[in-house]
């Protein structure tokens, strides 16, 4: 480290009058050190985590196979595969997307295109941030109070009066999807609003000048130009909905739900009024509540969930990079 410097050597001072002094060299070294230190912080976050993830995947290897994904869990998840939780998570994601996407996108359109800057907009902004900060377990309590105890009797009353079903709906896909949807509302509002805000004002002005109404402008100019940004937000919601555990704890997810092993019922296993299995819930239970659970099954479930989430997020990131590369303004 201690290479002879210009200042310490006897003669070259005359040769190079601009050579850094000892003070400057010390400062330069401190700067380099600090750069490395902050880089070290980044690596300290990333490298151990990657090591852990690789460890999980290695320990999961004995369990992983295509059958593992395609077969239903048996004997409390000690044997068999992951099909029932996977399909449950799939329907949970679909259900919550059906609710949250239209509402969230329309809300973002309102905030970005219609609302004037005033107390109402500010209030909505604050509620979006507070909603985003509500802990997931409080969302679970809300789902229990509002959807399971409040909405479900109403739905059941309606279903019974129409005579379409003979069995009352319980807490299940419907209530869990609604809870997850409320939880993801601020996410999609924020991301869509950002995407809409990225469309230059000149685009809108040009369209208005052609005589288009505000709605026509939104439909033909603003939305097509922000579509990919909105899509990125939706994918983000998919990944969050797939990974959440707390909000579905009391609102419909269950640990054991037998579904058909073959036939069409394997793809469409239950009605929205039945409890369902989900990946996150499955991992929660098998990782610490079932005794004598084989290690490979625990790690296998974790590895599949991690892979699922990372894959969804990589799609979102790839989409964004691609979008930025072809942006024309």
């Amino acid at each position: 480290m201690s290479t002879p410097t210009a200042a310490t050597l006897p003669s070259p001072v005359a040769k190079n009058p601009f050579a850094p002094g000892a003070f400057e060299l010390r400062k330069a070294r401190a700067l380099t050190r600090r750069k490395w230190m902050t880089l070290g912080f980044c690596l300290l976050l990333i490298i151990p985590l990657f090591a852990i993830l690789i460890d999980i995947f290695v320990k999961a290897l004995p369990a992983l196979s295509l059958d593992y994904l395609w077969e239903n869990p048996t004997d409390k998840g000690k044997t068999g595969g992951l099909w029932a939780p996977l399909i449950g998570t799939f329907y949970l994601v679909i259900g919550s997307l059906l609710v949250v996407t239209p509402i969230g996108i329309l809300a973002a359109i309102y905030l970005n295109e219609y609302a004037k800057d005033g107390w109402l907009t500010r209030t909505i902004g604050i509620t979006v941030t507070s909603l985003a900060g509500v802990p997931s377990i409080v969302h679970a309590l809300f789902g229990l109070g509002a959807f399971v105890l409040g909405l479900l009797p109403v739905v059941n009353g309606f279903l019974m009066s129409t005579g379409l079903v003979d069995k009352k709906w319980e807490a299940g896909l419907l209530t869990a999807s609604l809870t997850v949807a409320v939880m993801n509302l601020p996410v999609i509002i924020t991301s869509t609003r950002e995407a809409l805000g990225a469309v230059p004002m000149a685009f809108r002005e040009a369209c208005w000048n052609l005589g288009a109404t505000r709605f026509q402008t939104i439909r033909t100019v603003v939305l097509p130009n922000s579509l990919s940004g909105i899509l990125t937000g939706i994918i983000l919601v998919v990944s969050r909905a797939a990974g959440e555990t707390a909000p579905i704890l009391f609102t419909g997810a269950t640990f054991i739900k037998f579904i058909a092993d073959s036939g069409i019922e394997k793809i469409f296993p239950y009605t929205p009024g039945e409890p369902f299995m989900a990946m996150s819930m499955h991992l929660n239970i098998i990782s610490n509540q079932i005794s004598q659970m084989p290690e490979a099954m625990k790690y296998g479930c974790a590895a599949v969930l991690i892979a699922l989430i990372l894959a969804i997020n990589s799609v979102s990131i790839a989409l964004r990079v691609w979008l930025r590369s072809r942006k024309r303004w």
Binding site: M37, G133, V134, V138, G145, T213, F215, L305
Partner: protein, 324 residues
Amino acid sequence: MSDTVDAGGPVTKHPAAMPPPPVKRRKFRFFDAIEKPTEWLIRLCGWSSIIGIVAIFFFIFKEAMPIVPRLDWKEFFTSSRWIPAPGAGNPAHFGALALIVGTFATTAIALLIAVPLGLGAAVYISEFSSGKMKETLKVVIELLAAIPSIVWGFIGLMVLGPVLQKFTGATQPTNLLTGGIILALMSVPIIVSLGEDALRAVPDSYREASLALGANPWETVRRVLFPAARNGLLAACLLGMGRAIGETMAVLLATGHSNRIPEAFTDPIRTMTATIAAEMGEAAQHSDHYCMLFVLGIVLLLITCATNVAADLIIKGVRKKGKA
């Protein structure tokens, strides 16, 4: 017949001499027809977040209400006797002190680790890196933020806990320290990405002025960027704290689940969120125990809302100053 104009024939006349086109009835267009209803729908959806937050407060308070008038608040905040479902004849005790201490202890450890790490990483990403390196780091940090909390809990329980146990000699792998480290790792991505936003929002002219005065990049960061981005960085830390307080699944798996006030880093503890998650399944509907879990929910809700609104106001304050 010869004097009728053959409208379908080839146009031979000068266009100006052509008869004007017949006034047609305006064609029915689907999107024009739904314009007004859709605009109303958009306005209605704009209110959705207000409706959401009001509904959350309403239902949580509604479910907690039966016990609130009877609740011994002094016991709630000062005792750590949490005996929600005693045997027949014994009174129930709802002292949440240990749970509250548990929540704040894990959060404090998480912040002690996450704030320096997160701000350091934000400085590196924003100031010292460029090009591919910067993009890669940002993407990786974003992927870190995407890992679900249950997976973090699993990591704490199965991987990190046993490793830490070897170093600290704790009695069990899941304890305060494990939970705190896991929470730190979970809140770091928020602090990094928001902190990086805050640093990037400082105008380049500040950096240039500082460098022109002879300060090196590190001095610029410390003496110019940190003060200029102070509010944004503070908000980033507050939001990271909000996440740490509200986190459920990770602390449920990784803190050891023991209702007592911790005396050492290696003591197992229990947080408010974990208590709700663990006990709601056993609590009979509308029993005192059930209502108490909603009271814990109210406490959590109030703390996190206050944190988030404070962070929001701090950021807004920055923007207003920036405009002036």
